[in-house]
Amino acid sequence: GAGVSQSPSNKVTEKGKDVELRCDPISGHTALYWYRQSLGQGLEFLIYFQGNSAPDKSGLPSDRFSAERTGGSVSTLTIQRTQQEDSAVYLCASSSTSGSLKQFFGPGTRLTVL
């Protein structure tokens, strides 16, 4: 597609459920980033992929969070046993290479945990 797309746009879930958030980067972009935007913490960097590999997962908030990327394209961010503090907007960005200065952002997924 022309830009980074994310789905779903909005997700409401109950505490304790698992959720999957999807990111489709711009075609050909090898680098992919996940960020979380919440009222309390602002914008936080979560994880970065170069191709299918995530060299550093230390930005993930807890072990309930995991992310994968397959085929060097689509990425999913999975949150297990969701908690209310997980409520936030999850933004995905991609760039042509890991060294590129320009990250193109998607519209985000707003996650609400009841």
């Binding site: 960020y35 602002g42 960097f45 979560l46 930005g59 933004l91 985000g108």
Partner: protein, 119 residues
């Protein structure tokens, strides 16, 4: 670790006027990149302008310009001839120069400034 501080939660300006958004940062690195991003209600972050720390000349993009003071670790954004479409959240962001293959490639953001344009 780097930190980015935006001390103005909200700013208001009359249409066609000039407004300056403040940003300070803390880092021990000598080479890095600084960015201003705009986030309209659609949530999609849009890159407004960037500055390489090694460049002394302030970056400009049409009505947008920065005042980069490396010694003071200050990076303010000036918007000239403000337009209604400029209304948005503005985020200052930092990125390390060195590619480490990990978190260094992620952006560190400030808390943002909500810019209101008065018609």
């Amino acid at each position: 670790a780097q930190t980015v501080t935006q001390s103005q939660p909200e700013m208001s300006v009359q249409e066609a006027e000039t407004v300056t958004l403040s940003c300070t940062y803390d880092t021990s690195e000598s080479d890095y990149y600084l960015f201003w991003y705009k986030q309209p209600p659609s949530r999609q972050m849009i890159l407004v302008i960037r500055q390489e720390a090694y460049k002394q000349q302030n970056a400009t993009e049409n009505r947008f310009s920065v005042n980069f003071q490396k010694a003071a670790k200050s990076f303010s954004l000036k918007i000239s001839d403000s337009q209604l479409g400029d209304a948005a959240m503005y985020f200052c962001a930092y990125r390390s120069w060195t590619y480490s293959g990990g978190g260094a490639d992620g952006l560190t953001f400030g808390k943002g400034t909500h810019l209101i344009i008065q018609p």
